[in-house]
Symmetry: C2
Subunit: 321 residues, 2 copies
């Protein structure tokens, strides 16, 4: 058996998009695809009260993504993480309660025409004494980072809904979600700042000024509005508004999340642009984060599939995504 | 001269709407109208780089609002406050720097076919050592409240962009703007919570729970997201989301604004619904606010027109808006 022999079909199937990989023995990526067939596109026009119609739509999208791989290699196991396992997904996998190990074994099988797709459940903190929270997809990204996480640490996964995850060994002990990314999108696309017509340009100085403003204690809703008088005074170019607002949001987020974190070690994992911003906001509070900008979800899918017995572990090889 | 004799045309001309009143001697409202001819509607389709075209559009809208009053009573003075005096308005009045008395005399005249419309300038804190800020229209609302403001106080004017104004005697000494209202609109109209399809219903308990969540120190962007796991857990009805988010936003706003205020006396002036919410958020912090839900802008327009000599003061009469 060589590592170019197909061993697993793996999908990261989120809200707005979908990525599919054909992995060889040992986790090597043999082929990869990306499409916009996320939850929103798949369920468009489908009656939310008709699970059968929704399942059919997901199966069609699944075959579009990787039907040729399954036909060429009958019996190939398949795994998927992300919103495909949500209440609006193919099947609702539910959540595993925190604390939870990242080496999952409880995958949720979804039968389809050519076999079974195994879905990775999300993680959940039940609402109660402490605030509840949920994540889905990030558990797999985290599983793909386990080899590089040492000791207790806080992993920051920046995005529309940034996750601040507390990891000890191979276990998630807690997490919190901050929707700064969504707020930034809403403010720059739909609000009063969206009316300030100007093509955004990158302005690191504006971002730094936003960080400084966000450090003040006038409250997020006041500091965000503070961009407006700056523009009216000619002290901030309209094209620099997005970077300024990003600074205000991240300074506020980082200040609050660090204050509730009891670890000194912070690991950032995400796109280069978001990691740069969060690293600057963390540095502003005296925290030097370890930054990983590599893809870890495919590695996590391989690891979870291995732990669940879908593929055979080959200990002599390190996964090579 | 009786108080049914027309003495002034007064307009509150904002971003999304316009109100016009015909006032008699002493400030009595003889007639009133309301239209959607605000800045957005008036300037729609007008080239922003063509001030003459914009002025013509404003003059047309002005005549639609009160041309009959001006024709019936030639020479009647006219005054307007609000965004009509902004950079996208009829004429940019600029701003008066804070500290500033609320008994204005420096109105900005705009000639039109039948006379002159006098515009009330806004107030501005220049960006510098302390954060800059602007307001426009609220200065007139404040002028209309002067008779009931005693001693130093903080006046809260709730809205899309809530103003927290520090008033001493007849002078505004400082203010801050919080865009909680805009954030609430963006979150419930365009964001992830907007996808939770449910007709909103009033839920005071959900608002109170939002207040309690907003009091915690996890940061606004995290506490707002906290509504999502509550809905997923079945602990919050989707129809109650708007009230819950309102509570989270107002608790955060009030906590921060009170901490930077050095007055104990807080006066709230706005719509009954917003005053009720802010009063609850303030009570939650131990502050009993004085609440005014009456219309004060028309009273302010009369007061400013009197101070500016547009109309003759009749000291024996209290304005009766």
């Amino acid at each position: 058996m060589t590592d170019t022999e197909p061993a697993l079909v793996a999908l990261d199937w989120g809200t707005s998009g979908q990525r599919a990989w054909l992995l060889g023995t040992g986790g090597r990526v043999l082929d990869g695809r990306r499409s916009k067939r996320g939850l929103l596109a798949v369920t468009e026009g489908i009656d939310p009260g008709d699970p059968a119609a929704r399942a059919a739509a997901y199966e069609t999208a699944f075959r579009q993504a990787c039907g040729d791989w399954l036909t060429a290699h009958p019996g190939l196991p398949a795994i998927a993480c992300g919103m495909v396992g949500s209440a609006q997904g193919w099947t609702d996998t539910g959540y595993r309660a925190v604390p939870s190990t990242l080496d999952f074994t409880g995958l949720v099988p979804v039968p389809h025409r050519d076999g079974v797709l195994h879905l990775v459940p999300g993680l959940r903190i039940p609402s109660g004494d402490r605030p509840g929270d949920v994540l889905r997809g990030e558990e797999t990204q985290l599983a793909g980072m386990l080899d590089v996480l040492t000791g207790p640490c806080t992993v920051v996964l920046p995005g529309t809904h940034t996750k601040w995850v507390r990891v000890e060994g191979d276990t998630v002990t807690g997490f919190a979600t901050s929707m700064s990314g969504e707020l930034h999108g809403l403010l720059t696309k739909h609000g009063i700042f969206a009316r300030t017509a100007a093509e955004p340009v990158r302005d690191d100085a504006a971002f730094e000024r936003g960080l400084a403003a966000g450090r003040r204690s006038r409250g997020l809703a006041a500091e965000l509005f503070g961009a407006r008088p700056l523009v009216l005074d000619g002290a901030l170019a309209p094209a620099s508004l997005p970077d300024y607002l990003s600074g205000v949001l991240l300074a506020d987020e980082v200040a609050h999340q660090l204050s509730t974190s009891d670890t000194e070690r912070v690991v950032l994992c995400g796109t280069a642009d978001l990691c740069r911003r969060y690293a600057a906001a963390l540095a502003d509070r005296g925290v030097a984060a370890v930054v990983l900008t590599e893809e870890t979800t495919v590695r996590g899918l391989w690891r979870i599939a291995t732990a669940a017995g879908l593929v055979h572990h080959t200990p002599e090889r390190t996964p090579q995504p």
